[in-house]
Amino acid sequence: MTKMFLTLRKQHWAFPPEFHLPRLSLPHLNQKMIIALVILVPILLLTTFADWLPLQKPLQTNLRAIMQWPSHVHPFGTDRMGRDVLSRTLAGVQLSLVVGFSVAFIAMSFGLFFGTLAGLFGRAVDRAIMTVVDIFLAFPSLLLAIGLVSIVGTGLGPVVMAISLADVPRFIRLQRSLVLSLRSRAYIDAARTVNASQWWLMTRHIAPNTISPLLVAASIAAAHAILVEASLSFLGLGIMPPAPSLGNIIRDGQTYLEQAWWISTLPGVVILLIAISLHFLSDGIREALDPRARK
């Protein structure tokens, strides 16, 4: 107690100890992660607080102000029904992010579980899991998603499911290869010599050492999922109008590209920014977690 007091003595005059604020330290942030956050955080804040912004509601039309140039009232302009493109874009981004992060989460959890099983147990378990995985990997992911959506129907749930279905096999494969390379490490052998259970090996040795490459892959998968959702909606298979999604906003605008370029272009730029920032994030995570790249 005295020691703590001594170290804080200099600040004592400015702040009494009980109000002393710990300095916010971000030791793991590197340059790439900062770039990613500088783009992502404002977008996240804007989408989260979109309702409080002085903007027209996403679904509200105004036929007296159709296809207007970007201005201070409508920063991204308006579309053919006089709806505010910025507020629609923000609603679309919200949906995109939900799709992106749920797909990343689903793909990662399934990948972690089945990939570890396949890699650690080998033999019949491995063969069974990998056969299914290989069948799914044989289809182009967009086609698989289109096929599934046309069976199950459109909307947020089916879209997430369809994209996850294409991503889960990739994650299983990735996790399996990571487990295989870890399986012959000496610390696994050391645990085996004391008869550690498979569950112990999985939770104590394998999962903690594979989580970081999976996180890297997950942030790329999130970016990819956002693009696939946009593509599906663009094709009219994802989120149905009038509900806004980045894909269907761009689709609406492309007819009027010559008269009102902003309807398609500005949401397109937003997709680009999100995808780029997620890639930066994944690079940043990899750098922070991989001691070899840190040098």
């Binding site: 000496a186 085996r192 104590r204």
Partner: protein
């Protein structure tokens, strides 16, 4: 620093060379003012621990440093040309032509997708300015000279079709093919087995004598230096601390570091077992500014003067220079050994307990069956272990030696239940635990040292949380580490400290047998001595039996009571360590012993060495006769027909050879 006169026939002259690596976290001063000369036909060895800057120094000579590295000042003259002032293009004319290079790892220094010939011929054509046909003839001639059988055919082989020893021969042929004046060899034999290492060293020695090329040889193996070099440079913290003729340096070392290094090697000539000298502490951080002598913190003879100023390399006797304020180094002063308690050497004289086997292996076999993808092809059987029987007494150490691929590690894995034997039995009274070879991969990088040592206790549900914590604390003290290390991650520890943690983990369950698979091969010499001393102490304190597996015969001899020599999955000789070493019965044991160089140039010069030729035959093929027949210098007709069983030829010793009866 011009302490040496300019010599006319110098191939290489280095003056006050400094090499820095500009990393993100600071400037690493890898080489801090190195000066020396190398004449025609001379072989100089540069020795030092890892991190001493010896490789950076060698690569600086031809400016082949990895990215952030740069020669910042000094002068390097090869055949009169100043390397530091040449352009990259001019340098390429020198590399390969005037300077040949042999790298450490033969597995990665040849391009795997190019045939050997395609890698050899273009440099010869360019440097000697001759045509394809002549170049090919030269390449074949060199491959033949370095001992590649059937060179005309093998020049068309890919690197993966060759063994490590063969690839290193190819590297040497490439380095020598343009008749360079200087050859730089960076640990050329470290990745190879002892018998192959001896062959390669002989080859390099003969070829340099033949062509008159000078050679700079980097190594950490003092024995090799004694066998090979005319001159020795000892490097520490980026500087040469001692330089002189090999015979002088070994007979009369003057720098405390050299003196300590020479004492860390187990001496096989005396039967008495003294503790090995261990050099305390670590090499300095090369990012920090250096004030005073860089070795002072580990030096027993250091005094106040060493703190303020660093000694220069100064004349001692003829051609012998040392960088120490004391003319005789440690000699006459106090040594680190004097500080170490000596009680262990005395306690060894206690009467031996009655014989009690803790480990018994009977006719152990392990065959790996490799099925082919094609259903009609015969599955191939790899006989890794082929009938091994061994016994181990309580409190004793059994050393298992042999080249890589002889099955010694497979035996270890079966002892621990990591592999199931194909046939045979293993009886262990109590439990067996293992100390692994590589201290870098044997710990989960995400676990703290405390959890690493605690793991076996948790897995086997021993004790309460508090009892386990108590046990872990006592274990870590037992292996000679401070309890504050428990809170660290493995990446924050040095190689020696990690290996101590490995020992602590192995001891957690109070095993009766500890299997140590090459526990010191990844460590520096000074640290190696610490670990060997630790194992010896534990053996005496706890009465644990050790199975010590290694290819380092000096260490095995030092630590073991009995030795088993393995060849192709079989034990060919077994007996008390001293007897096997002093009077080997099996020709293979003799060949192994001949292959290890002893750290004494005078003895090396007089030694009659009979090297075995060839390499380990494939364990996939089945021989009818003796497994060693293909390489044995004393092979008879009988050896190819019938296999000699292992049998006792005296009270304590066994061998598998027709010559022993």
């Amino acid at each position: 620093m011009t302490f040496m006169p300019k010599i006319d026939d110098a191939v290489l002259q280095v003056r006050d060379m400094h090499t820095h690596f500009n990393t993100d976290t600071g400037v690493v001063k890898a080489v801090n003012g190195v000066s020396f000369d190398l004449r025609r036909g001379e072989r100089i060895a540069i020795v030092g621990e890892s991190g001493s800057g010896k490789s950076a120094m060698a690569m600086s000579l031809i400016r082949l440093l990895a990215f952030p590295g740069k020669v910042v000042s000094g002068e390097i003259r090869i055949a009169g040309k100043d390397i530091t002032r040449l352009t990259e293009r001019e340098l390429n004319g020198i590399r390969g032509k005037d300077v040949g290079t042999v790298f450490q790892d033969p597995m990665s220094s040849l391009d795997p997708v190019m045939r050997v010939g395609d890698q050899m011929i273009p440099p010869i054509m360019r440097h000697l300015e001759i045509g394809q046909k002549e170049a090919q003839a030269i390449a074949i001639e060199w491959l033949d000279k370095v001992g590649i059988p059937d060179a005309k055919q093998r020049i068309k082989a890919y690197p993966f079709e060759m063994s490590g020893g063969m690839r290193q021969r190819v590297m040497i042929a490439m380095a020598l093919s343009c008749n360079p004046r200087l050859i730089i060899a960076d640990e050329p034999t470290t990745a190879l087995d002892v018998t192959i290492q001896a062959q390669i060293v002989e080859l390099l020695k003969n070829l340099t004598a033949e062509t008159g090329a000078a050679m700079l040889f980097i190594t950490h193996d003092l024995g090799l230096v004694a066998r090979f070099a005319n001159k020795v440079g000892v490097m520490y913290a980026g500087r040469l601390v001692e330089f002189g003729p090999a015979t002088d340096i070994f007979a009369d070392p003057r720098h405390p570091y050299t003196q300590s290094l020479l004492r860390t090697i187990p001496d096989t000539t005396v039967a008495k077992r003294d503790r090995l000298l261990q050099i305390p502490g670590f090499p300095p951080d090369m990012k920090m500014p250096m004030v005073g002598c860089s070795f002072r913190e580990r030096c027993a003879a250091a005094h106040d003067y060493c703190k303020s100023s660093a000694p220069d390399l100064e004349f001692r006797t003829e051609n012998h220079y040392a960088a120490c304020w004391l003319p005789a180094g440690l000699d006459g002063g106090k040594t680190a050994e004097d500080d170490a308690p000596k009680e262990t050497a005395k306690s060894a004289s206690v009467a031996p307990p009655p014989r009690q086997d803790v480990l018994e292996i009977n006719d152990l076999h392990k065959h790996f069956v490799k099925k082919s993808m094609l259903p009609w092809a015969e599955p191939r059987t790899l006989r890794a272990v082929n009938g091994v029987s061994l016994r181990l007494n309580r409190g004793e150490t059994l050393g298992i030696v042999g080249e890589s691929g002889c099955g010694k590690s497979t035996v270890a894995r079966m002892l621990l239940g990591l592999e199931q034997p194909t046939a045979g039995q293993i009886y262990i009274a109590g439990a067996a635990q293992m100390v692994f070879q590589d201290p870098y991969s044997s710990f989960n990088p995400k676990m703290k040292v405390f959890n690493i040592i605690e793991e076996p206790l948790v897995v086997t549900r021993k004790g309460t949380r508090a009892e386990r914590a108590e046990k872990v604390r006592s274990l870590v003290t037992q292996v000679g580490l401070d309890q504050s290390y428990l809170d660290r991650y493995p990446s924050q520890l040095s190689g020696g400290q990690r290996q101590r943690i490995g020992v602590a983990r192995a001891l957690a369950l109070n095993p009766s047998v500890v299997v140590a698979d090459e526990p010191t091969s990844a460590l520096d010499v000074s640290v190696r001595a610490q670990i060997i001393n630790l194992l010896c102490d534990l053996k005496e304190q706890l009465g644990i039996s050790f199975v010590f597996i290694s290819h380092d015969l000096l260490t095995v001899r030092y630590i073991s009571d009995h030795i088993a020599v393995m060849y192709l999955g079989e034990v060919v000789e077994y007996g008390p360590a001293a007897h096997v070493f002093d009077d080997p019965a099996h020709p293979y044991t003799r060949a192994l012993l001949d292959a290890i160089p002893s750290p004494d140039p005078a003895r090396e010069a007089n030694r009659k060495i009979q090297l075995i030729s060839g390499e380990l035959p494939s364990p996939l093929s089945i021989q009818t006769g003796c497994a060693f027949a293909s390489r044995c210098p004393k092979v008879m007709a009988k050896c190819r027909e019938s296999k000699p069983p292992i049998k006792a030829f005296s009270k304590q010793r066994e061998a598998a050879c027709h010559l022993v009866d």
